[in-house]
Subunit: 243 residues, 2 copies
């Protein structure tokens, strides 16, 4: 086996609302409310490189898990299994992998031709902001869609099982921030309804959690099957100002 | 954008019947008769790296298109469109890509524990023999199966539309070679029924084509909607010998 090291160069980066791992959906396509922008570097931002892409509703993004600084062992503990069962890394989609390649299925919302070249707007990304992009391939339903496949330890989508309740404060803050980030209210509800807490923390009612979205810190807690959104403040701590 | 070159190291290679590009199915999973073996390099051949994989019926192989020495432009001419329509490279699954990453969906047939470590037997590979393997991920039907997705210029699987007829010579030869390669008869029929000729050559009846499978050369021609298998000879030209 001649298996020398291979070299890749990113074709662009993916811009997402996620500035830390906590709260990111665990697969692409699961939370359509996540809007992301694929920014391309020259020459891949030319129209001709994307000719025909509009005919496809969904795309594969192959990315580089750039935030992984942790252990890269042969086994991982999937959060889905409560964090206390070890599986082989290749039996999971964990980001800590021998070659840290990500595979994300997203919905193509728009191909935008800007003054700076083409960019793609996609839905359902499960990626940190700034993730390097290595390749984009069209989703081919005749080859890629196998609804009857056996899905091992993750046969079904995690259920959206929590009701989301807004405090008056959070609702007013969100309305202000939504002038900058129109997707914010739907995004917050979709993410929190799916309960991003690791399984082993789901017995800690009353604890206050934070998710960073864009430049905001969304603070929330869980009790009696409900998520209460407490407040949404900027990273700098500044409250939203009325226009 | 900080987009430095990234380095990958193959975790193994994929062994397939295909020694040249002509005749390889154009997507993974389309021709289940193709049997391939995933050979892993240490330490990825340890059982623990694959613990839990048996629960999944299908796997993604992320590979390196190692045979691509041709042009890597921004557009390609998909064989499916007859080779005379240019599309953006990212709107296709063409192997000539800025980063030559392959994405193949295969069916997991067996996880074999040999004296030399774990290897995987898979079905439906669309890869050249010896293709470097970068990653394996389980297929998650809840996230990956979108049968209603829009498939652009390739909405449906290419039809198996040719009848396959064996010459007496080819049938006898195949029976002999099948002692070494038990899959050979079904593999030959499945590949040729799908008509591997490029669309622009489908008006050349009587022409003799060859497909290399394993160490064999399968010679065939097409007329009146039928594939005639003429002979199956070894690369060295030796006829099969009766045992």
């Amino acid at each position: 086996m001649s298996l020398d090291a291979l070299s890749l160069r990113p074709i662009g980066v993916v811009r997402t609302p996620f500035h830390e791992k906590f709260g990111i959906p665990r697969q692409g396509g699961v939370v359509d409310e996540v809007r992301a922008v694929v920014e391309l570097r020259p020459p891949y931002d030319r129209e001709e490189a994307w000719r025909g892409i509009e005919g496809f509703s969904h795309l594969w993004l192959i990315t580089w898990f750039h935030a992984g600084k942790g252990e890269r062992g042969l086994t991982v503990r999937p959060p889905r299994l409560g964090g206390n069962v070890r599986l082989g890394v290749f039996a999971t989609r964990a980001p800590y992998r021998p070659n840290p390649l990500g595979l994300s299925l997203v919905r193509l919302e728009a191909v935008e031709q800007t003054g700076c070249g083409v960019r793609l707007v996609v839905r359902g990304a499960d990626l940190l902001d700034g993730t390097p992009l290595l390749d984009v391939k069209p989703y081919l339903p005749y080859a890629d869609a196998l609804p009857e496949a056996a899905g091992g330890f993750a046969p079904d989508a995690p259920e959206a099982r929590l009701e989301v309740v807004w405090s008056d404060t959070a609702r007013q803050q969100c309305a202000q921030w939504a002038k900058v980030h129109p997707d914010l209210p739907a995004l917050v509800e979709a993410l929190l309804a799916r309960d991003p807490r690791p399984a082993y923390q789901q017995e800690a009612p009353g604890r206050i959690y934070g998710i960073r979205l864009y430049d905001l810190d969304v603070r929330w807690s869980v009790a009696d099957g409900e998520v209460l959104i407490i407040e949404i403040v900027s990273q700098a701590g500044a409250p939203p100002t009325a226009p």
